[in-house]
């Protein structure tokens, strides 16, 4: 039931209000979609009423302080190890949903082994992969997901695929594993995409609660500061470059080890 209020004698439905996040201000840079990911996740937790039945893992990277925002029990992992922590948690707490929030440096570089093996074992966890093609917190260095030609602080002439290979499409890799039951690529650059992202999170939480296998949601995100753009310029770059290289949509909706 929608909440209703009265203002100046007129009745209004509350269309959207802040979920039950903690009161702390998010430290993310203006326009960064990290905050969107966490608030949508919290909305799903609130709506499903599973605060007591979900445990999260924050990474090393921009989402390191996710435990200051999310309102549920959280653990903080070493760089790249979130999926190993999540495996440990899920194996001893099988009735709980378990999620990780990880950036592309954390997940696709230093933590690739932990990520792939968790997916291959079909751990019933939710991997929320924030891919903005750059190391954000470390200061804008090249990541495995950095686009060809993209200028970063460690690829000042643009990423040269001859030196550094092509951007890693992790979602395409993990969809091949029998262990994954849901692999999708989403964005949060407009309201339509943000609503789809929330649906994807709902589905993934459901999968984790019901032990159906690994759910992998890649949020193709932005990084205004790392990209050295204003927030508004970053929205344009996001759509024109990121979404072109990392097309949105479900890569897999059924699976898991039976």
């Amino acid at each position: 039931m929608a909440e209703t209020i009265t203002k100046n004698g007129q009745e209004f439905d509350v269309v959207w209000k802040k979920p039950n996040l903690q009161k702390n201000d998010m430290h993310y840079c203006p326009g960064c979609a990290h905050g969107t990911l966490e608030k949508l996740l919290q909305e799903v937790i609130d709506e499903k009423g599973i605060q007591h039945q979900i445990i999260g893992v924050s990474p090393v990277g921009c989402a390191v302080f996710a435990y200051d925002y999310m309102n549920c029990d959280m653990q903080e992992a070493a760089h790249g190890r979130a999926c190993a922590l999540a495996t440990g948690i899920k194996r001893v707490m099988p009735e709980h949903a378990v999620f990780t929030i990880q950036g592309d440096g954390d997940l696709a570089s230093i933590g690739l082994a932990e990520t792939l093996h968790a997916c291959n074992r079909g751990e019933s966890i939710i991997i929320l992969f924030y891919n903005n093609a750059i190391y954000g917190m470390t200061g804008g260095q090249m990541a495995p997901t950095t686009l060809p030609g993209q200028i970063t602080s460690s690829s000042p002439d643009g990423r040269d695929p001859k030196l550094s290979g092509m951007p890693l499409k992790v979602a395409n890799i993990v969809k091949e594993f029998d262990g994954t039951c849901y692999v999708t690529r989403q964005a949060a650059n407009n309201a339509v995409n943000a609503r789809k992202l929330k649906k994807a999170i709902e589905k993934a939480v459901d999968n984790s609660l019901n032990n159906r296998g690994t759910s992998f949601i890649e949020l193709v995100g932005n990084c205004p500061s790392g990209w050295k753009l204003t927030p508004v310029e970053s929205y344009k770059w996001w759509e024109e470059n990121m979404l072109k290289y990392y097309p949105l949509g479900d890569l897999k909706t059924e699976g898991g080890i039976k």
Binding site: F12, K17, A188, A191, Y235
Partner: protein
Amino acid sequence: MEIKGYIEVDIQKCKGCQLCATVCPKAVIGYSDKTNDKGYYYAIMVNEDCIGCGNCAIVCPDSVITAYRAAKK
């Protein structure tokens, strides 16, 4: 006069990223002349054309917008 909708902005938490403005179908959102305590030009309503769609609120990374739509009678 009855309106179709409106938004409330938690101005001290707004970081002025303007994503809300880019997704508003009615060009309702603009920016303040003065900054908030953090130094950002925060989002404000610049007209009364809001239809209460909530687009701005759902995309806001900092969850500073609450959106209201006129209740159906």
